[in-house]
Symmetry: D2
Subunit: 275 residues, 4 copies
C-alpha cells in the first residue's frame, strides 16, 4: 500500500520567532519512503535538523516577521496491515525491563503518575498483567471519555481527562499512558499520520493523530484509546513521554496559526489490464 502524506501549515509572527517542528516521518520508517521527506519553508530560512533523545527528527528555524509556510508531501510504502495484536504478550517485571524503557514509567507534564496511581490500582490492579491489562485500560478510557474537538485544551492533563471525561485524541492517550505507567508498564506517546483507511471517513478535517505505545514482552506495541480498534496505515512521526515532547511545532514566541492542512491518503494504483 502506498500512502501520500503531507501538510501545509502557515503561521503569522509579528517578530522573529524560533520554532521547533517535528514534521518528519520517524527515522524508523526511513526505509519505507518512496519520495524525499523534507520540511519546506516559504520564505526559505536556514533549518537545523537534529535528533532528540527519542530519536525523533527535529527541525529548528527562525521564522522571520510575517507569514511562514511549512509544507511537504511525500510517499510512503506501508504493509497495509492492521496494528499488531498479541494477547499473550506478557508484562515485563521492572527489574527485567530494558533500561531505555524505564523513563517511560515516570511522571511527565501531562501524565501525573503520582496523582493517579491509587485510581489505576483500584481500577486495573486485579486485571492480569500484560496485554489484557493494557487493553482493559484502553477499553475503559475509550468508554468513559467523550470525544469532541471543542474539548481540546493545551493545558489538559491526564488528571483533567479523568475528572472531566472529555477530550481529543491526545487526551485519551495521556490518560491511558498514565494508567499504564502507574501499573509499571512503560508507555509512550506517539504522533503521526492516520488516514481513514479501511474505516468510514471521519466527519472531521484530517489532522495529525496521536496514539501510544506500550512495552510488553520484548517490544513496543501500538495502542489507541481513542479509536480502540486495530487500524491500518499509521505513519509514525515522533514518540515521547507525552505531548509536551512531541508537539508538531513549538514556538518560542507569539505565532498565530493561519492555515492547517494535513493529508494522509491511500494511493490506489491503476492496474494495467491487457487484451
Amino acid at each position: 500500500m502506498l500512502i501520500r502524506v503531507g501538510y501545509d501549515i502557515s503561521f503569522e509572527t509579528p517578530v522573529e520567532v524560533p520554532i521547533v517542528a517535528l514534521l518528519n516521518v520517524h527515522p524508523s520508517r526511513a526505509g519505507d519512503l518512496r519520495e524525499p521527506d523534507e520540511l519546506h519553508l516559504e520564505p526559505t530560512v536556514k533549518i537545523d535538523t537534529y535528533l532528540d533523545t527519542f530519536a525523533n527528527t527535529c527541525s529548528r528555524f527562525v521564522a522571520p516577521p510575517g507569514v511562514i509556510r511549512l509544507f511537504n508531501s511525500t510517499l510512503i510504502e506501508d504493509p497495509g496491515e492492521l496494528d499488531a495484536q498479541n494477547p499473550s504478550a506478557r508484562q515485563v517485571p521492572v527489574g527485567e525491563l530494558p533500561t531505555e524503557t524505564l523513563r517511560f514509567l515516570l511522571a511527565s507534564r501531562y501524565c501525573e503518575v503520582d496523582l493517579l496511581s491509587h485510581t489505576a490500582v483500584e481500577l486495573f490492579g486485579e486485571i492480569p498483567g500484560g496485554w489484557e491489562r493494557v487493553q482493559t485500560i484502553c477499553d475503559w478510557v475509550h468508554r468513559k471519555v467523550t470525544f469532541g474537538y471543542n474539548f481540546a485544551r493545551g493545558t489538559k492533563t491526564a488528571l483533567d481527562v479523568y475528572t472531566e471525561r472529555l477530550g481529543v485524541c491526545r487526551d485519551f492517550q495521556h490518560l491511558a499512558i498514565t494508567f499504564c505507567r502507574c501499573l509499571n508498564i512503560p508507555a509512550r506517546y506517539a504522533s503521526g499520520y492516520l488516514g481513514d483507511i479501511g474505516v468510514p471517513v471521519a466527519p472531521y478535517p484530517m489532522d495529525f493523530s496521536a496514539w501510544f505505545e506500550a512495552y510488553l514482552e520484548d517490544r513496543w506495541w501500538t495502542f489507541d484509546a481513542r479509536h480502540n480498534v486495530p487500524r491500518k496505515g499509521r505513519v509514525l512521526m515522533a514518540v515521547g513521554r507525552d505531548a509536551a515532547d512531541v508537539a508538531i511545532t513549538t514556538s518560542f514566541g507569539s505565532a498565530k496559526l493561519t492555515n492547517f492542512v494535513v493529508i494522509s491518503d491511500e494511493i490506489i494504483q491503476a492496474q494495467a489490464t491487457g487484451v
Copy 2:
C-alpha cells in the same frame, strides 16, 4: 578541599520491589573521586548500572522482601571555590542554542511552563535577558517563598509553589526553573550533596540538596533559589528536567523509608608541623 560524602538509607518492603537509585556522583565529577563511588546493598542483590539520557549514573535492583540498606561513603576532591558568577553572561537566542539544551525549555511534570508563562513575562519580561534575568528570578523566588521541611510534598508543582509560597529546596528550584524556561532560558534541575561549608551550620539534619543550572552564553551555570548565595562544595549527582527525572530513589511498589542519613563534610587535613 576534600569532602567526604555518603549516605545510609534503609527501606522496608513487604514484597519484592524494583528500585532505581540515582546515588552516584555524576560522571562529570569522576576525575575528582579519591575513593571508589559504589552503591552497596545489604543484603547484596544484583545491580544493573546504566546511564540515562541525561548521563546520570542509575542503579536498578530488586529489593527482596524485608529491609534493604543502601550505603556508601566516598571521598571527592573539590576546588573549594564558590559557585561561578558571570553577570555578563548573555542569554542565547533559541535559534542559536545548542540543540541538546532545547529539551530544557519544555514543560515537565513539576514545571508547568504552559501555565506560568504569562506570569513570568509580567514579572521578569522587562529585565534584560541573561544572567541578570536569572538572578532576578532567583531573588524573587528566594524572597517570596518560605522554607520549611513540613511544607514538603511529593506532588507539589511549580504552580503550587507560586500559589502557596511555601516549600523545601526542590520547590524553590522548580519555580525558578519554570520561570527561566518561560523566558526561553534552558534550565535544568540538579541534585547532589551540599554540606555546610563556609556557612553557618543549618539547623536541620543533613539531606541531599537540590539546585538548578541555567544555560547562558556558552555553558550551564549553577543557581540556587533556595540559598541564593554562592556556595562551596556542591557535589553533583544528577541533572534532569525536574525532580521526577532525578529522584534519589524511585520504587516501583510499596517501600517504607526506615533510615535516612546523608553526610557531606569537609575533611580538615592535619598539618604536619616540624620541631
Copy 3:
C-alpha cells in the same frame, strides 16, 4: 426604557431529572416589572418556588422523561442609565463591613481566594483601596484575558483563568471577584440579562450575561471585567458567591440542552403623531 426579556430553553432527559432553575428576575427588580414574570414549563409539572439565602428566586421541578421546555417573556421598565460610577467610593475596613457582606470575602468553588492572595497583593496591593482598586482589577483582567466562546468550560476556576488567560464572561468575573476578596473587598457574582443597548451589536447569539458587584462605601456597585465599560439595561436575575450558586439551571441527573434562546431587547415605542 422598556426592555423585553425572556428565554426559551429545552432539555432532553432520558429519565426523571430534578432541576433547579434561577430564571426569574431578581426580587429587587420586582417593582419594575410591567408583565408577570413566571417560569412556564411544557409539559406542565409542579414547580416549587423559594428564595435561597441570597434572596434569589429559585424554581425546582422534576422534568419527566422526554423533552421539557422552559420559557417566558416579560417586560421590565429600566431607568436606562449607565452603571453607576463613584470613583470616590471608599473601601470599608473589614471591621466595619455589614456582617451580611462578610461571606463574600471567603473562598468559593470558582474563586480560590487562598491560592491567589499573594498574586493579588503583588499586583494591586499598592493601589489605593476602594473604587480605584476595583477598577484597576477590572482593567487588568479585561486587558489580560482573551474572550472566546470556545474557551468556555464548566470546571474553570479563577486560578485557571489566571494561568490560561482565556475565557467567557463568567471567567472574567471570577478572576476579578477573587482578586477583590483577596484584598478584603466583598465581591459577589451576578447573572442576568444584558442586551446590546447603546453599544454595537455583539457578533454572538444573545446569552445570559455575568457581571459582579463589589461592596464599597455603603452599597454594592456593578462592575464588569468582561466589557469594562458602563452599560445600560442590565436586568439582574441572581447573585451568589460564584457561578456554582447561580447556575441558570442545575440538573440533578443527565439533561441534554437541545434549545437555548435568550432575548433582551429595548422596546422602541411608536410615538403617536396627530394630524
Copy 4:
C-alpha cells in the same frame, strides 16, 4: 454527662487585623449549656456577634497590634449517647428535599462536586441510596485515606485528598461530603469539640474536630469518615458547606498563631456516698 469544653488561643499581629471567629457552641445546643458560653479577648476589644446564613454564631473583632488571646471555658450537658444510627433512613429524591437543604448539593471551595461526580457514580452508584450509601462512602474514605497531622494543608481540596490519599480530619470529611453531593445526598461540614470519651486517648494534643452531616429521610445525621465509628460527646460549633465557611478563625491580614489549646473533657462527678 457533663463535658467541659474550651480553648485558649493566641495570635500575634504586626498591625490591626480584623478576625472572624466561630468559637461558640452552636445555637442548637444552647439549651444544654450549664455555664455561659462567651468569647473572651485579652486585651478586650469590641466584639460584633451575629448569626451567619448557617445559623452559626460568629464573632468579629479587630485585633490590635501585638498579641491577642481568645479564651473560654464552658460546661455543657450531653446525653452521652453514641451518634444516632439508622440503617433504614432512605435517600430523599431531590424533588422532595426541603429547599433549605439544596445548597448542600452544590460544589464549594473544597468540595469539587463537578470534578468527582464520575468517580462517585463509578464507586458508589450501585450501592442502594440512603444510609447504606453514605456509610459505604465513609468506609471507603476511611480505608483509603491515611491520617497524619503532617498532611494538613489549608489549600487541600477533596480532589487532592482523592489523588493523594493523605489527610487530617477535615480532608476525610471533604472527600466524603463531595461523594455524597455527587450522588444527590445533601451533605454539610461540621466542626466542634470531640473528646476521647469512651475511646482510647488519641496520641495527639486535643484539637477541634471536623465531621459531617448527611440529610436522609427527614433530618441531618452525623457521619465521620475520619473515625468511622459512632462516638459520644460531640459538641457542635458550626456547620457550613466546607471548611471555608466554618474556619475557627479567619484573619483578614497577617496573624501568627502562637498558642493553641483546646479542651473537651468529661466531668466525672464525685458520687456522694452516705455512711
